[in-house]
């Protein structure tokens, strides 16, 4: 496997983790989008190096094809990732409507004061 994919996956996962650990819901959303990209690339890296191989369409060439199974799995993952992202977007919107904030720190700070009184 080529080194660049491994490093790219590391960078993507690192950035996504950093974002997801934030208190801002918007940043968590961005982190989630990055995370799904990183996960897709991770799956893709399991199909090995594409050098000297062809796209998995049978009958076009005589050469070897790349592994189609990770691609099929990623296809499913992309769509599911989009579904969850869309849901998160709506959830965030609704949260903002109800709580008038996009930040977990503030959300819980309000709850804490209401608990104390």
């Amino acid at each position: 496997m080529s080194l660049e994919t491994a490093l790219l996956i590391g960078v993507l996962f690192g950035c996504a983790t950093w974002l997801v650990l934030h208190h801002s819901f918007v940043k968590i959303l961005f982190g989630f989008v990055l995370l799904s990209n990183a996960a897709n690339l991770f799956l893709l890296s399991m199909s090995g190096s594409p050098d000297g191989r062809e796209a998995p369409i049978a009958g076009q060439t005589a050469g070897p094809l790349v592994d189609p199974l990770p691609q099929a799995l990623i296809l499913t993952a992309i769509v599911i990732g989009f579904g969850v992202t869309a849901y998160l977007v709506i959830l965030l919107y609704r949260l903002f409507l109800d709580q008038k904030t996009t930040n977990a720190a503030e959300l819980f700070a309000e709850q804490d004061t209401s608990e104390r009184t």
């Binding site: 994919t5 960078v11 950093w18 918007v26 790349v66 189609p68 919107y93 409507l97």
Partner: protein, 807 residues
């Protein structure tokens, strides 16, 4: 045989719990239904005892858990029947007594009798069990029943505390017992008591195991029989109604430790730890219990501590027993059951009729309750060991045996003799105090005001017990046939027959001396009005236990509060760190084991670098870092989109045209969606985001976590690809895509043919997400105020952080 056992044990066990329901219909009359159980059990056990036959014929088995090799095996030998008859016989008296004691003032009669019947069945099961695991199960069941009965008046704090103490102490030591049983099994290969008794324990190589097993088993016995340092739970268990105290906590359950010692006696008596362990603790507890009884003022506490004392004696007695066997253990146990059960019932009658429990506030009851006073006199004399009672016989034999043990046991013998003498003197004093301060002397005003006559049948059981104590005391010959018939080989050696008068022997003179000294101590106590009698705080082990329990609760609460947060944002780092430690640690360990090295993979992977791909990867990485680095939401979204679209390009470079198509579509829709969302947020929300920064420690933790996750994922990718490629499932799919699925695009055929259910699942997830999003949007109702202000709400609506007034 089987039928008799079923009636004795199975019937109360199976039918007893239904008394709780029956109690709702019958009220307190349910006690008379329950009364049938001990009567039936006694009859069945008597029938079993009267049946002659060798020991092998005394075993009955029902299958229970055949897969684990655990049968319901019962062994009805002399020891089991002796204890069984005590349990069921006392049961008859106690159930009768309870029917008059628990009057209409009490509630939940059905529940009470259900517990009591359950307890009796569990007791009988414990003493009759032949399989050690079965014994353990019944043993714990008695503890459970005792917990329920102590806590029966659960509205009272003392009941709950006492019940909890009893459950924790006996439950914990019960677990030690289980460990001991398993060790015995490990050494001998069998759980069956009869086989163990027949074959004995192997010596030699298993010495260490057997010593550990002995320690654990004996600790189990100590916990149940309230021996030091577990003695504190028994007096607190007196919060139960008096019939329960008389039954469980003097006559039967606390004798289980004694029973266990008797059961183990043939197996372990030759072990060098047996005598010191049992005797030092047993006799020490005996003195401690007697001193505490002397210092107590509560009627039931006096009796409880004296029970602790007597149990200590019985356990120490088995410890000192000669290898050939003991002689008069049944006599001592029977004697204790008679007087202690009787005295408890008398205390119960006194409490029932006056509502007073403190001996300092009582007196003069002899004139109002002459019959009870007579029984009290006899039973107190039995406790003191006055001639003409079973107590005298017991004490004569006790002294004789102790004096005999003096020689073979050396220091231990002298210690035991000293303990027995001191205890006997103290016992005389508090027995005399118990009788005179309750029944004689002037009548205090409180008694006069509160007294109401108890029903005569309530006084019947103590009268019967007193009659038995004096009858067997004067005519000990009556006991002989029964005791001979129930003797067990291995535990007992042939005993001299009992007689009232042994002549003027050393024991008799000692006994007289003890009586005189005890009377002196009593006289001193009376003259000083027992003002000095107070339990010193250093001996309040129950207080220590409660304090320890409280400290444990505080510790666990603190620990929970430290580990547990209410907010998911605080949890995530913990979860991530844990997963990282687990996966990362395991990865490092596996790397270390396999001897492969990361640098090798890196250099190998560097050889396969394609520069176009490396360029694209670098751009994606830059874009991702841009999402982290830039501050404004819109810029972040643009960076995010750049990363997404470049990933499309990366897919193309990886010969994945379908992925590229899908990714580009999804990327576009995501961009639109996120932009729509951000457009709904007011400016102030974004500004507010920037003013709040997590503390530096948290930021450092986040950074470390992020870098670790990234590093771990890179390592995993490198590692997986450095391994030799196995046969790929995908290759087979690609080869057969035309033949089996009639399609050339292997990715498409995989999705719709080979792995069609995955796609079904995917569609389902989308549907659920859609429904969820719809629900979120539809359920929101804006207030009229918000309608007037437009979709963005009031101007300046959003995040207001304290101290953030500047724009």
């Amino acid at each position: 045989m089987k039928w008799a056992l079923f009636i004795a044990v199975g019937l109360p066990l199976l039918v007893g719990p239904w008394l709780g329901l029956l109690g709702r219909a019958l009220g307190r009359r349910v006690g008379w239904v329950a009364f049938a159980f001990p009567v039936l059990s006694t009859a069945a056990l008597l029938w079993l005892a009267a049946r002659p036959g060798p020991a092998a014929a005394r075993i009955s088995e029902w299958p229970w858990i055949p897969s684990l090799g655990i049968p319901l095996a019962f062994l009805a030998d002399g020891l089991a029947l002796f204890f069984g008859l005590i349990v069921s016989g006392m049961g008859v008296l106690v159930f009768w007594y309870a029917n008059f004691y628990l009057d209409a003032h009490y509630r939940h009669h059905g529940r009470f009798y259900a517990y009591l019947t359950l307890f009796m069945a569990a007791m009988l099961g414990t003493v009759l069990a032949n399989h050690l695991l079965l014994l353990f199960v019944f043993w714990e069941l008695t503890g459970l029943a005792s917990f329920l009965l102590i806590g029966f008046l659960h509205e009272e704090e003392a009941s709950r505390v006492g019940a909890r103490q009893a459950l924790l102490v006996t439950g914990f030591t019960g677990l030690l017992l289980l460990a001991g049983i398993l060790m015995v099994r490990q050494v001998t290969g069998t759980f069956a008591l009869d086989e163990l008794l027949r074959a004995g324990l192997p010596a030699g190589a298993h010495r260490g195991w057997l010593t550990a097993a002995l320690l654990l088993l004996v600790l189990g016995a100590f916990g149940k029989s309230a021996q030091f340092p577990f003695h504190f739970w028994l007096p607190n268990a007196m919060a139960a109604p008096t019939p329960v105290s008389a039954y469980l906590h003097s006559a039967t359950m606390v004798k289980l430790g004694v029973f266990l010692c008797a059961r183990l006696f043939p197996l372990f008596v030759a072990h060098e730890l047996w005598a010191p362990l049992l005797s030092w603790i047993g006799f020490g507890t005996m003195v401690l219990g007697a001193v505490l009884a002397l210092q107590s003022h509560d009627l039931k506490a006096i009796l409880a501590f004296s029970t602790v004392s007597q149990l200590g004696y019985l356990i120490g007695y088995y410890g000192l027993g000669a290898t050939a066997g003991v002689e008069h253990d049944y006599l001592h146990i029977l004697n204790h059951v008679l007087y202690k059960g009787g005295l408890f019932m008398i205390a119960g009658v006194v409490i029932h009729s006056t509502g007073l429990q403190d001996i300092r506030h009582l007196g003069g009851l002899g004139r109002r309750l002459p019959w009870l006073a007579g029984a009290g006199a006899v039973l107190a004399a039995t406790m003191a060991g006055v001639i003409g009672t079973t107590g005298f016989l017991s004490k004569e034999m006790m002294l004789k045996e102790i004096l005999e043990a003096l020689r073979p046991h050396g220091t231990l013998g002298s210690y035991a003799a000293g303990c027995v003498l001191v205890t006997s003197v103290i016992k005389v004093a508090f027995a005399a105090r118990f009788f005179t301060n309750v029944f004689l002397g002037p009548e205090p005003a409180a008694v006069k005001a509160r007294f109401h006559a108890p029903p005569l049948p309530l006084q019947l059981p103590p009268l019967l017990l007193a009659a038995a104590a004096i009858g067997f005391g004067v005519f000990p010959r009556w006991l002989d046939p029964a005791l001979d018939a129930l003797a067990v080989p291995g535990l007992h050696r042939p005993a001299d027959h009992l007689a009232l008068w042994h002549g003027v022997t050393l024991e008799f003179l000692t006994s007289l001396g003890v009586l005189v000294l005890g009377a002196g101590l009593y006289g001193f106590g009376q003259r000083t009005a027992w003002r000095w009698a107070r339990i010193s705080p250093a001996l309040r082990f129950d207080a220590f236990f409660e304090a320890g329990l409280g400290a444990f609760f505080r510790f666990t609460r603190g620990l929970t509060r430290t580990l547990q947060a209410d907010r998911p944002v605080s949890y995530l780092p913990v979860v991530l760190a844990f997963a990282l430690t687990l996966v990362g640690g395991w990865t490092a360990y596996a790397l270390f084991r396999s001897g492969e090295a990361l640098p090798g993979w890196v250099s190998e992977a560097a050889r396969g670098v394609d520069w176009l791909r490396a360029f694209a990867a670098g751009l994606i990485a830059l874009a991702a870092l841009g999402v982290v680095g830039v501050r404004r939401w819109t810029t972040q979204v643009i960076a995010l989109s750049v990363a997404g679209f470049l990933t499309t390009f990366y897919f193309v470079l990886h010969r994945a045209p379908d992925l590229a198509l899908t990714q580009i579509l999804v990327e576009v829709v995501t961009l639109i969606l996120v932009l729509l969302l951000l457009g709904r947020f007011p400016r102030s929300a974004e500004r507010g985001e920037r003013t709040w920064r997590p503390p530096p420690g948290r930021r450092l933790l986040n950074g470390v976590l992020a870098v670790s996750v990234g590093g771990l994922m890179s390592t995993l990718v490198l590692w997986v690809n450095a391994r030799p490629a196995a046969e790929r499932v995908g290759d087979r799919l690609a080869a057969q895509t035309v033949d089996l699925a009639e399609g050339t695009n292997a990715v498409n055929t995989t999705l719709v043919d080979f792995r069609g259910f995955d796609t079904l699942g995917e569609i389902t997830v989308l549907l659920i997400a859609t429904l969820g999003a719809l629900g979120l949007l539809m359920r929101y109702k804006r207030t009229p105020e918000e309608y007037r202000q437009g979709p963005l709400g009031a101007p300046g609506m959003g995040v207001h952080h304290p101290g953030e007034d500047r724009p």
